[in-house]
């Protein structure tokens, strides 16, 4: 398929693998963090690790919106559907994510809550239009990639006077999370040499948004596409920067990312949303100016204002290492629960269930590499 096959080509991959092997200095380690779960999954799904020298390591970052969502927010969504009886529209990724006491949206749905899986904000608007007698809440989640469509939905709902529609906003921002990872990097945090920058997020916010990384933290960034050859080429570009002592923001994903990003999308976000003073990230804690709420002009579309919900303390499952994994400090296989009580069919933490989660990638694609699973024929 055009625009897909070219970026998954075996011969080009071999060429890149050879270039990486030639460029990587055998006397040093290259610890590269990929911010996005999409990159983590590309690395595992295509077996990129098999094509890398052993001194080039990929560390998995927090760029999985489902993974960084605190359990209490899922409980909040469940409460909207069960206590307030709303029709809750959600992307399918969230259905099996564990909330407190291992509640999930899927279980709430089975128990009778009206929870609908949707593919786009347009579906949520349609459901609201078709059911004027019901309150319809869109469970908005994601980084800057999915935020502009939510902004459009808010504008449409406002313009059309869709009074039974509201938004449970959980949109978060990439730069504050990256800043947190970098600020805590070092002996106590994650040890890293360079960053594979977000792909789709960068189409919206632009490559200029990462200038602070080399300036303040002295680490190089290469914005990388999600196809396997994008990832490999970006790794090569990072290795070259490190070898040459350069430290800058480079853009591998030039077919989609510009320095200034998508101005129209940025303007939409600026109109409809405002930064929250603080927001809790699973694994990273409370980060200032790291998430969005609806602006005052759109306040009557805010499900958190429309429906009073109180959520008590929600405890993580004991032993779940998702928080350390999201900070890049531990690997999924360092977790005692990994593959024992925590599997994609029976997830204890969201990193095992999200399609962008590191634990899910390790388990579903890569567990044959782990010592306990290694078999004679491999």
């Amino acid at each position: 398929m055009k625009y897909i096959d070219e970026f998954r080509d075996r011969d080009l991959a071999r060429g890149l693998a050879a270039a990486i092997a030639a460029a990587a200095d055998p006397t040093r380690q290259y610890r590269l963090i990929e911010f996005c779960g999409g990159h983590t999954h590309a690395i595992f799904r295509y077996g990129i690790a098999d094509l890398m020298p052993t001194n080039v390591r990929c560390i998995h970052g927090p760029g999985c919106p489902v993974c960084v969502l605190p359990m209490a927010r899922i409980d909040h969504a469940i409460a909207l559907a069960t206590r307030h009886g709303v029709t809750l529209c959600t992307y399918a990724d969230l259905m099996r994510v564990p909330a407190g006491e291992r509640r999930t949206l899927l279980k709430a749905k089975a128990a009778g809550a009206d929870i609908r899986m949707i593919y786009s904000t347009q579906d949520a608007l349609r459901i609201a239009r078709e059911n004027p007698g019901r309150q319809v809440v869109f469970f908005a989640i994601g980084f800057e990639t999915t935020t502009p469509p939510t902004a459009v939905a808010a504008k449409v709902a406002k313009a059309q006077g869709l009074n039974n529609f509201s938004i449970f906003c959980n949109h978060v921002l990439t730069p504050p999370a990256l800043r947190t990872i970098l600020a805590t990097a070092g002996p106590q945090g994650v040890r890293l040499d360079g960053i594979l920058g977000p792909s789709h997020v960068s189409t919206v916010i632009g490559s200029r948004s990462y200038g602070f990384v080399p300036q303040l933290f002295g680490k190089p960034v290469v914005i990388a596409g999600f196809e396997p050859l994008d990832v490999m080429q970006s790794i090569l570009m990072l290795i070259r920067q490190l070898n040459e002592g350069r430290c800058e923001v480079e853009n591998q994903y030039t077919r989609a990312v510009t320095p200034e990003g998508n101005r129209k999308a940025q303007a939409l976000m600026a109109e409809v949303f405002r930064p929250r003073e603080t927001f809790e990230w699973r694994g990273l804690g409370f980060l200032p100016d790291s998430a969005l709420r609806l602006a005052d002009d759109y306040a009557n579309l805010d499900a958190e204002r429309r429906f009073a919900v109180t959520i008590g303390e929600v405890r993580e499952v004991k032993g779940c290492e998702c928080p350390a994994i999201l900070r890049g400090i531990k690997e999924p296989t360092d977790c005692k629960l990994f593959g024992t009580v925590c599997t994609p069919d029976n997830p204890m933490g969201s990193c095992m269930v999200s399609s962008e989660g590191a634990c899910a990638a390790y388990w579903s694609y890569g567990r044959f590499r782990e010592p306990g699973f290694r078999s004679a024929t491999v």
Binding site: R45, R367, T377
Partner: protein, 348 residues
């Protein structure tokens, strides 16, 4: 059709709908059976008119299988719930290497369902059964209140006879065996999804729904020592291979580049975030045979119209972990795991 004196006024098959009386066991049900089911599915055994069909099975070992069909929407590019319910059960029977003999069909109809759509579905079943020479010889009809069903659910049961000397079972894969697939993956799932109300995208892809017993007969005749056959329906190829590794206590190595997938299916899957390896098929099979017979089997498959794109995708290996491992198009390795959760509800 001659006028049945019990029913002086014919059912209005153009504008009429199913009502509760059509499942109540009385005259209305008898009329629905006569004018819809018998009218289309007619055969000697069905015409016996009893609560069961009486037949003498041919000599040999019999297999029996049953399959419920709840696909949504009922009509999709390349097929509908009617022909699907015939093909699905014929294929389940045929995957033992068997020659399917007869089908039974149970209908659960929802009050208010259009008789015109019901006729279309039953006619499609009849056409599929006729084409396959596997008649529906007994059936059942129930009606549930509006809102308690979703138009129509169909359960079909089939019996078949296994030829002498053929033993095909999911637990017979052995290290060294070859793994073959009969054609491109994911067509059925993508065709059905393309007509989902909340998705609706344009695609040229049609469901691959087809009865595979003719193909199986040719394969078994050429390579009677086939070890395993299975149709990769729900959960797709990935799930089927994992079922077989689990049953046989083996592992598998497959090559991504050898697995045929239409580019339109690849495109739809990219868009929807699906993996074609997990998308349902209704007219494909996986075959596992001794490596020495693989070339012959592949040639027989490629000579059959339903499997012209057959491909040798890998081999069975010894592996205590029973992993299905795949060499990726890029040249790396990964596991192809069981489907976790529910990717596509109500696909068949």
């Amino acid at each position: 059709m001659t006028t049945d004196r019990r029913f002086p006024v014919r059912l209005d098959l153009r504008h009429g709908t199913v009502d509760m009386s059509h499942g109540a066991g009385g005259r209305a049900m008898a009329q629905l059976i006569a004018e819809v089911f018998q009218a289309h599915l007619d055969n000697d055994l069905l015409r016996q008119g009893n609560d069961q069909a009486l037949f003498t099975p041919p000599p040999g070992r019999l297999v029996m299988s049953t399959d419920g069909h709840v696909v949504s929407p009922l009509f999709f590019p390349g097929g509908d719930i009617g022909c699907l319910s015939v093909h699905g059960t014929i294929n389940d029977v045929a995957m033992a290497g068997a020659r399917p003999l007869y089908l039974a069909a149970g209908f659960i109809l929802e009050e208010g369902f259009s008789l015109q759509d019901l006729v279309r579905i039953v006619a499609s079943m009849a056409a599929a059964a006729n084409a396959a020479s596997v008649p529906v010889i007994t059936g059942d009809t129930k009606v549930v209140e509006r809102g308690k069903g979703d138009g129509v659910f169909i359960t079909t049961t089939g019996v078949g006879v296994v030829p002498e000397g053929v033993t095909i079972s999911g637990d017979l894969a052995r290290p060294g065996d070859a793994i073959l697939i009969s054609g491109s993956l994911g067509d059925h799932g993508v065709a059905v999804l393309s007509r989902r109300e909340n998705l609706g995208f344009e695609t040229a892809i049609r469901s691959d729904t087809a009865a595979l017993h003719g193909l199986v007969a040719a394969m078994v005749a050429a390579v009677p020592d086939l070890h395993c056959l299975r149709d990769p329906t729900r959960g797709g190829l990935a799930t089927t291979l994992n079922e077989l590794t689990y049953q046989s206590g083996v592992g598998m190595r497959i090559r991504e580049s050898a697995i045929p997938v239409h580019s339109a299916v690849v495109a739809a899957c990219e868009l929807l975030g699906l993996d074609p390896l997990y998308v349902a098929n209704e007219g494909k099979l996986v075959a596992i045979c001794p490596a020495a017979r693989a070339a012959e089997l592949l040639a027989v498959m490629r000579a059959h119209p339903l499997s012209a794109a057959a491909s040798l995708i890998g081999e069975v290996v010894a592996d205590p972990h029973r992993f299905v491992q795949m060499e990726t198009t890029l040249g790396g390795s990964r596991i192809v795991d069981w489907l976790a959760g529910e990717q596509l509800p109500r696909i068949c």
